[in-house]
Amino acid sequence: GESVGLHLPTLSVQEGDNSIINCAYSNSASDYFIWYKQESGKGPQFIIDIRSNMDKRQGQRVTVLLNKTVKHLSLQIAATQPGDSAVYFCAETAASGTYKYIFGTGTRLKVLA
């Protein structure tokens, strides 16, 4: 299928290492954030979410950190696997007055064998 993110920032990580993908958001009113994974030819897949009343949330092999002071979000993937290769997007929304999600530009993760 056609690739997503041909000119995106790329993070190359050795298989088995940990990955950290960063995202800066712009709207200080945003209070809910989601990380999505998008593989070539597919739609974004929900990975993990976090609300603004939390600093950290863990899932299976993934952790999301939220720093509201500097409006920064990160996704940590433990023991990165070849199947983790994809484009990763952060998305933000504000509870007040909007239902739309604003997506970041995305980061391509390449897992090296």
């Binding site: 209070d31 809910y32 989601i34 509870a95 239902y99």
Partner: protein, 113 residues
């Protein structure tokens, strides 16, 4: 449990034509959002439908319109197609409230010649 399904997967049209894309939401979801994703970019919000009405709209012209049916499925219509409308069109479904994670289909790849 079926996820979000979209049809068709690919479509080729010429400038000036009209197109209709279809979406069935994930079981249990009653809200449908549509996004446009250009190559190398994150999805951009077009609009959201709830209770058969457009409840929020992004920065897209009136050539983009939609509909939601009583069974919660939805259509996206684009009139007077332009070359710049070539993109991946994504449908996302969710529950109705704020801070609800949106789950995406694999999209319809629309190419305008």
């Amino acid at each position: 449990d079926a996820g979000v399904t979209q049809s068709p997967t690919h479509l080729i049209k010429t400038r000036g034509q009209q197109v209709t894309l279809r979406c069935s939401p994930k079981s249990g979801h009653d809200t449908v959002s549509w996004y446009q994703q250009a190559l190398g970019q994150g999805p951009q919000f077009i609009f959201q439908y709830y209770e058969e009405e457009e409840r929020q709209r992004g920065n897209f012209p009136d050539r983009f319109s939609g509909h939601q049916f009583p069974n919660y499925s939805s259509e996206l219509n684009v009139n007077a197609l332009l070359l710049g409308d070539s993109a991946l069109y994504l449908c996302a479904s969710s529950l109705a409230g704020v801070r609800q994670p949106q789950h995406f289909g694999d999209g319809t790849r629309l190419s305008i010649l």
